[in-house]
Amino acid sequence: MRYLPNSPGDRAEMLRTIGYSSLEDLFSQIPQAIRFQGRLNLPGPLSEQEILDFFRDAARQSSREYVSLLGAGAYSHFRPAAVDAMLSRGEFFTAYTPYQAELAQGTLQAMFEFQTLMAQLTGMEVSNASLYDGSTATTEAVLMALRLTRRNRVVVARTLHPEYREVMATYVRHLGTEIVEVPYSASGQLDMEELEQALKQETAAVVLQSPNFFGAIEPSGEIAELAHRSGALLVATVTEPLSLAVVKPPTDADIVAGEAQSFGVPVAFGGPYVGFLATREKFVRQMPGRLVGQTVDTQGRRGFVLTLATREQHIRREKATSNICTNQSLCALAATIYLCLLGKEGLKALAEQNLAKAHYAARQLQEVPGAAIPFTAPYFNEFVVKAPGKAEDVLRELRREKILGGVSLGPFYPELEDHLLVCVTETVDKATLDRMTGVYRQFANRTETGNGAKTAAPHAVGQEK
C-alpha cells in the first residue's frame, strides 16, 4: 500500500522489539466473538490512474457543460488561480487546529485576518474564525440570542432560506422554542405590519436574511428598531456576502451570520462551505466557535493564539456555548486569500458587475409577454421571475440551450408556483442571457398561441351559433 511507510522488515523488527509474534497478536484483547471474521467487501485497491478514471467518469455525469443561473445559497463565482495555489500548500491543508501556537502562526494569522475581513464587510465589531456553513451559523446565532435574552421565542422571516429554517427547527425543537414565521409583502421584503404584530409577545430574536431568499434587500435598520423596541435582538443572515461590497451592511443588527462560500470556495454540490458569525464586542463571550486573538511572546513580539476558549466544549464540556469543535479553517483561508486578491476596489467592481448583469437579465425578461418580475424591492444579483408557463417546462427548454435557468420556487413556496429564482453572477455572459430571453420569448409565443387557440375555440363556437 503506497501510503504506508513501514516495510515488512520494519514491522517484523518492531514486533520483535515489543514482544509480539504477529500483527494479529496486537488485537488479542478484542474478544474473538466480536472480531470481524470476514474480509471487508469493498472495491479496490485501485491505482492512482484507476482512481482518476473512476472520478472522471463520475464528473462526466454532471452539469459541467451548462451555464448555471442557480444561486439560492450557493453561488458560482470565478476563483482566481492563486486561491488553490495557496490552499494546496501542505503546511496549510495538512495542519490541524492551532492548539500549539508556535507551530501554527500561519493558520492563526490568516484566521485573524479572516476575522478582520468579515468584521469589515459586515460592519460588526468582531467576527469568529468561521462555522460549518450559513445554515448552522444562522442557527448558532439564534441559540446565542436565546442565551443572551433568556427568552424562548424567535420571529423568523419566511424569506430566510427554507433549508436554513429547517436546520434551525432541528436545533431548537428540543428547547421548546416557539418559532413564528413572518410573511413577505408585495415588495418581496419582510411584511412590517405582520412583524409588529408578531413582536407583541416577548421575543428573543428577529431573524432576517438580506438579500433575502428572493434576492430582495431588507430594510434592516427599520427592522432592528422594531426588534429592539420589544427587547429582541436582530439576527441578520447574509448568504451572498459579495453584496456587501455595494450594499450597506446590517450594522443595526446584533448578530450578522451567514455563508462566505462566494469568496473562493467551490460550489461543490453543497459543501464544504464556510459559515461566519459577527457581532458586537459586548456579546463576545456568548459567541460560539473559535476565536483567534492577538498577543505578544516573551520577547514582546506580536503573535496570535486561540483565545476565550473557556466558552468552548473542550474546556466547558456540557456547559459550552456550542458543541462545535472545529471551524472551517481551510475554507476560511480560501475566503481570506480571495478577498485579499480582489481587495477594496476589485470586490466593489465585481459586485457592480453582478448587479449590472442581474439587472440586465431581469429587464430583458420583464419585456417578455407572460413573464413578470413580481417583487419591487431593490436586489443584488438574484431576483424572482414569473415564468411564462410552467416552471418545469421553461427550465426544460432552457436546459436544451445548456442553461440551468434557476431554482423553481414552487416546492419551497406553494403560492409561487411557476416562479423561478434566477441568479446572475459575473460567470454568465451576455450571450447566454440573451439566449435565455430568447427561450422565454419562444415559450411565451407558444403559450400565447396555445392559450389563444384554447380561448378562441369557444368564441368561435359561440359566433357560429
Partner: protein
C-alpha cells in the same frame, strides 16, 4: 543534550505583516473581464438607504504580494507533510494528493446542489458509494453524510435516539457519558436537550460495569461511548455493556473518532452499537485544513434508518440516484444541502486506493506504531493504565511534574526537536496526560527519532528543568501570553 537543538528544524523565518499593513490604495490582485452588459449606477439602483460606497480598511494588494504573504505564513505552520504529528485523538495521517486532484475535477467541484438530479448523477453516485463503503466498514445498515463534522454527527445521532425512544413512548432524560470522553460528547448531548450523567471509569480505564449497572435506570436514554476509548484501550466487555443498555430499554451511541483502530478488525454493529459517527478527516484522510472542514457521517442500525437526517440518497431500480426528502420520521435537516460533499469525494478516493486489504494493513500499522511508542517510552514516562493499547497510548508527566515540568512544557520542548507535540492534558482522567497517536503514516525510523527526542527531553528535565520550561527555543516566536489575550481580547486589526 541541549546541543541537539542544532539539529532541530528551525521555524525562524522572515517577519510578515498583516495583509492590512501591506495595503496601499489603487492596487488589486485581480483584473476583471470587461463588462458585456450596460453598467448600472449602483448608487441609484440601491438608493441612499442601501448603497455602500466603500468598505473601510479593506486591503489593496497585488497578486504577487498575496502569494508571498500566504506563502510566508504557510512556512510558520507545521503539517503532516512537514513531519510526525502524533496529536492524540486527531489521527493526523497522510492526506493523499490524488484526493485533492479528484475533488477539484470540473463537474464534481462545480455542480450546484440544486442542479436537477439527472444532471448530478456523478455527485449523487459519489455520495451513495461513500455511504455504501462506510456501511460495510461499520457493519451498520444506513448512513447519512449530511453532518458537517464529528460534533454534528454526535448531535444527529443523539437526536435520532431521542426520536426513536419518543416513538417507543418515552424519550427519557439522561445520557450516560464516561469521564474519559471528548468534550464534544457532553456538549452535543446538552444541545440535544438531554442531560449528561458522567460515568466513572474503572481502574483499567474502562467502563465500570457495576457503576453502569447502578446508573442505567429507566430515566436513562442511553450510553455514549468511544471505543477504543480516549486512553486508546478497547472496551473488552463492550458486548455486555451494550446488552445491559438494551435490556433496560436504552440505545448505544459510539463516537467513531477512534475508528482508525478498528477498520477491518471489528465492526461496531457486531458488538452492539446502534448509532455512531465517523470522522472522515481522521480515519479517511480528508485533510484537517488547519481546523476544518471536517465531515461526520452518521451510521445507524436498520430500526433507526427512518430517523436519519433528510434528505437521503437512494438508488432506483434503474440504477439512477435520487434524493429522498419524503421522510416523515426524520430528525430533519442538520445542515443545508447534503453535507460536506468534497470530503466524501476524498474519503471515497482513499477507500478505493486501499480496498479492504489495504485498510486492514493500515489499521494494523496504526496499532503497531502506537504500541511500539508505548513500550519504548514506558520506562521514561509514567504509564497510568498498563493495558495493551490500540491506535494511541496515554502516558503521564507524573515523574517530570516532580521537577516542576508538565505535559504542556514537554510538548513545547518537543517542538525544538522538530516534532509536532502529542495532545496535552487529555483525557481529563489522567493527571498531566501525554496522548500520543502516531498513526500508520509514521515510519519506524521517524518513531525512533521521536522516542529518542522524548527521552532526551526527560533527561533535560532532570538536568535543567528551567531550560525546558522556557521552550520552545527554536521557533520564530517564543511562548505567547495567552492570559492577556483572553483578558483583553484583540480579535481584529484596526486602522
Amino acid at each position: 543534550m541541549k546541543d541537539q537543538i542544532r539539529h532541530a528544524r528551525t521555524h525562524v523565518t522572515r517577519n510578515e505583516d498583516l495583509i492590512f499593513e501591506r495595503s496601499s490604495p489603487g492596487k488589486s490582485g485581480v483584473d476583471l473581464s470587461p463588462l458585456d452588459v450596460p453598467a448600472v449606477p449602483a448608487s441609484e439602483i440601491l438608493g441612499k438607504e442601501f448603497y455602500r460606497a466603500e468598505i473601510p480598511g479593506f486591503p489593496e494588494v497585488s497578486e504577487l504580494e498575496v502569494i508571498r504573504h500566504f506563502t510566508r505564513l504557510s512556512t510558520w505552520n507545521y503539517g503532516v507533510d512537514t513531519g510526525l504529528y502524533p496529536l492524540g485523538s486527531c489521527t493526523m495521517k497522510y492526506n493523499p494528493r490524488i484526493n485533492e486532484v479528484v475533488a477539484r475535477l470540473e463537474g464534481l467541484a462545480t455542480d450546484h446542489p440544486y442542479a436537477p438530479a439527472e444532471l448530478a448523477q456523478g455527485c449523487l453516485r459519489v455520495l451513495y458509494e461513500t455511504a455504501q463503503c462506510l456501511k460495510e466498514i461499520t457493519g451498520m445498515d444506513a448512513v447519512s453524510l449530511q453532518p458537517a463534522a464529528g460534533a454534528q454527527g454526535e448531535l444527529s445521532g443523539i437526536l435520532m435516539i431521542q426520536a426513536c425512544l419518543t416513538d417507543r413512548g418515552n424519550p427519557r432524560k439522561y445520557i450516560l457519558i464516561p469521564d474519559s470522553a471528548h468534550g464534544t460528547n457532553p456538549a452535543s448531548v446538552t444541545t440535544s436537550g438531554y442531560q449528561v450523567r458522567p460515568l466513572k471509569s474503572d481502574t483499567h480505564g474502562s467502563i465500570d460495569l457495576a457503576e453502569l449497572d447502578r446508573a442505567m435506570t429507566e430515566e436513562v436514554a442511553g450510553l455514549m461511548l468511544t471505543n477504543p476509548n480516549t486512553l486508546g484501550i478497547f472496551e473488552v466487555r463492550i458486548r455486555e455493556i451494550c446488552d445491559l443498555i438494551h435490556q433496560r430499554g436504552g440505545l448505544v451511541y459510539m463516537d467513531g473518532a477512534n475508528m482508525n483502530a478498528l477498520v477491518g478488525v471489528a465492526r461496531p454493529a457486531e458488538f452492539g452499537v446502534d448509532v455512531m459517527h465517523l470522522n472522515l478527516h481522521k480515519t479517511f484522510t480528508t485533510p484537517h485544513g488547519g481546523g476544518g472542514p471536517g465531515s461526520g457521517p452518521v451510521a445507524v442500525r436498520d430500526f433507526l434508518e427512518p430517523y436519519l437526517p433528510s434528505p437521503t440518497i437512494e438508488r432506483a431500480a434503474d440504477g439512477t440516484y435520487q434524493l429522498n426528502d419524503n421522510r416523515p420520521k426524520s430528525i430533519g435537516r442538520v445542515r443545508a444541502f447534503y453535507g460536506n460533499f468534497g470530503m466524501a469525494v476524498r474519503a471515497l478516493a482513499y477507500i478505493l486506493a486501499n480496498g479492504g486489504e489495504g485498510l486492514l494493513q493500515t489499521t494494523q500499522d496504526a496499532v503497531l506504531n502506537a504500541n511500539y511508542v508505548m513500550q519504548q517510552l514506558r520506562d521514561t514516562y509514567d504509564l497510568p493504565y498498563d493495558e495493551p493499547c490500540m491506535h494511541e497510548c496515554v502516558l503521564s508527566d507524573r515523574r517530570q511534574a516532580v521537577r516542576g515540568v508538565h505535559t504542556g512544557d514537554i510538548a513545547k520542548r518537543l517542538i525544538d526537536y522538530g516534532f509536532h507535540p502529542y495532545t496535552t492534558a487529555f483525557p481529563l482522567i489522567v493527571q498531566g496526560a501525554l496522548m500520543i497517536e502516531p498513526t500508520e503514516s509514521a515510519s519506524k525510523e521517524e518513531l525512533d527519532e521521536f522516542i529518542e527526542a522524548m527521552r532526551a527531553v526527560a533527561e533535560e528535565i532532570e538536568e535543567d528543568p528551567e531550560f525546558v520550561l522556557k521552550a520552545p527555543h527554536a521557533t520564530r516566536i517564543s511562548r505567547l501570553d495567552e492570559a492577556t489575550a483572553a483578558r483583553r481580547p484583540v480579535l481584529r486589526w484596526k486602522e
